[in-house]
Symmetry: C2
Subunit: 104 residues, 2 copies
DNA sequence: TCTATTAGTAAGTAATAACTTACGGTAAGT
DNA sequence: ACTTACCGTAAGTTATTACTTACTAATAGA
């Protein structure tokens, strides 16, 4: 429904990079940070935002926090875009018919 | 394919507001700006970003620049998310099989 | 032709967001 | 118990980006 947070979250290139890393497999924070040009705490901050946007989830195993993709958030965004375009089409069609009438 | 610009563009709440305004009907800049809490030039700047992201197009009619949604950009984002999740599933399945093998 | 309307760009400022370092807390291993 | 490894949060700084005002250009209409 409210995919506002998700769009905000994926608006940042670094968060998209993290998101795409998790596409390969669930990962601990330290592994996510590895290779990225920013510090581990910065990664943690990004993860928090992605989590709040319901794009990822977290499970704790020992003292590793394993993050993985969350289907719900991804599907929500997809649905938003689908619905968005559907509604737009409906509106445009109604608009076309109305201006057609006004010609007469 | 490259929906990077699109995700950046829709990362901003104001641009999403503009985007959703255009869902109702194509609109001139002045109409888009009307009701928004920012100046018209600011709106122009946002429109430029949305246009470069291929989320909207523009046609000039006399003095008016009429902006409207661009299906291509919207579909591109949708496809990205679809493909993204598909690939994730494939990866996770392969991963599960591999760790299954390693148990033996 | 003169004026009003529409809109994009430039330059500088204000607001926001991303980052770093420092710290504390918990779990695992010796 | 002590040390090491992993991680999140806080506070402050830096960098980005969103915004305003001022300007210019083009079309429409009187």
């Amino acid at each position: 429904m409210n995919s506002q947070l998700a769009f905000n979250a994926l608006g940042d290139p670094t968060r998209r990079a993290i998101f795409e890393k998790l596409q390969h497999r669930p990962m601990a924070v330290i592994d996510i940070a590895d290779g990225l040009p920013i510090s581990r705490p910065a990664v943690s901050q990004h993860l928090k935002i992605l989590k709040e946007a319901k794009l990822i989830t977290l499970k704790t195993v020992g003292n590793n926090n394993i993050y993985e993709l969350n289907r719900d958030g991804i599907i929500a965004m997809r649905n938003y875009l689908d619905q968005f375009w559907d509604d737009a089409l409906t509106n445009f069609k109604a608009l076309a018919e109305q201006t057609e009438k006004e010609k007469k």
